[in-house]
Symmetry: C2
Subunit: 278 residues, 2 copies
């Protein structure tokens, strides 16, 4: 389980690193970033997972997420994986919302995607083992957040592995991929036409089917062009209401889908996570 | 003096915009960014100028500078110009440290640069007039900061127009361009071989020649690869010491030349400026 250090830089008293490794899950090289805040040698720290949206790599949130100041203040490790396998030997699609850069955090079952598009296994199994092995991480204290497609990933992973993640939050998440164009295309393409198999990768369906977490935090910009067609947070609100899950859904006037929106509310989310990570 | 809005986004309760206009100074289209914090309609706010380094456009600090949270808290407008004229009809050089992306904040006198490379006039005259006309700016309260080549620009402009700028600070600035390779190449190329003409564009020489400001703040990473050959902050310290200028020069262990370094100390600089802007 070797990892290669691509680059490191001092930031807010800690270390922002970018790392690469040969992934067994995807069968490709994978790149991810980790911020380790200032800490006492030997100390282990809680880990926040951040899953990115369509077209992103680890670099978008690393450059523009503005998480380091708060992670340094609160003593949080921040991990940002890529959004799909990549490379010449990896299947792709010319659209921005399918194929490379659009892994949707599932293990694909359909050809030609099944060979490499195994982002569920990558994010929930392989990468956590690397983080545990190579960083001062307290793996008993993990939480997960994400944006858009990555908000979908954070919600579905957080709901499925509720014993692992002490907090789950999202910025402008896709909450019901089975019922919106982005999700129908991706889940149909990666998992096949049988919609029964999609429910494990649909946060609203997971809640309908019994998955539970104590609480969720979601921020959603009201000026987000994807709000009505692709994101539909009221579907999550209805599911949480029926299930007794405490959802804090904050509609933010004037905010769009960009990293300006994410950065604005990042510190709130990190503080919310830190309070639950102990 | 029309400007075109390229994009705006809500951020930290204010508005991050990118704008374009036809510049008289450079004879080209020029792009810049402005962050306007939340404010009461009719209120005017102090203006902080941020000048960027080699290879940068307005976008680098806009994406990675992490200034918006503090500007929103302190009520500061943040303006980020481009670093040179650009375009097919504009002279260029294949090197990263000369020509487009490397204007060095001078009005070039030498061919072929003199036609468009008029960044001193652009930043000190034309763009301030646009900011005054189009934004809720209190032009009686301005300050200036910059990074690397932009630190050079902030220091030379701040020292030359000391009555305009109430605070001057820099991240890893080129303090004595006449005495380092980047500066000798740029000032020689843009201003010609007569070194007497370079002194107006050399912060240390300006101080030696009598320019004064009450105080300067400079942060410099000790792991910055450009420190010894190109930046040489001890030359500024010696000049300030001889001139009685209060220089706060903070050598920061482990920090490099990147925006991770800038972002780490941005809030400190903004607070230092705000205290002087009243």
């Amino acid at each position: 389980m070797a990892i290669e250090t691509v680059a490191t830089a001092r930031a807010f008293g800690g270390t922002q690193g970018v790392y690469r490794h040969a992934s067994d899950a995807t069968g490709t090289p994978m790149t991810f970033s980790v911020y380790v805040p200032p800490h006492v040698p030997g100390q282990t720290l809680p880990v926040i997972w951040y899953l990115s949206g369509l077209t992103c790599t680890h670099a978008n949130v690393t450059d523009k997420g503005e998480y380091r100041r708060t992670c340094a203040e609160l003593g949080l490790i921040f991990v940002a994986p890529d959004t799909s396998p990549r490379g010449d030997g990896v299947a792709d699609d010319p659209a921005y919302d399918f194929g490379q850069g659009a892994g949707f955090y599932v293990d694909a079952t359909e050809a030609p995607w099944a060979a490499h598009f195994r982002m569920w296994s990558y994010v929930t199994e392989e990468l956590p083992a690397l983080i545990a092995a190579h960083f001062p991480a307290d793996m008993a204290r993990q939480s997960i957040m994400g944006h858009s497609m990555g908000g979908h990933g954070a919600l579905t992973i957080g709901l499925t592995l509720a014993e692992r993640f002490r907090a789950v939050s999202a910025f402008a998440p896709i909450v019901a991929p089975s019922r919106v164009p982005w999700g129908e295309k991706a889940l149909g393409g990666y998992l096949g036409a049988d919609r029964a198999g999609w429910r494990r990768h649909d946060a609203v369906a997971l809640i309908e089917d019994g998955a539970r977490v104590p609480a969720l935090l979601v921020d959603q910009g009201e000026a987000d062009h994807f709000l009505a067609e692709q994101l539909r947070p009221h579907l999550l609100a209805e599911a949480c209401d029926a299930a007794g899950i405490e959802l804090t859904l904050r509609m933010q006037p004037g905010y769009d889908h960009s990293y300006y929106f994410i950065a604005t509310f990042m510190a709130d989310h990190l503080a919310w996570h830190a309070a639950r990570l102990g």
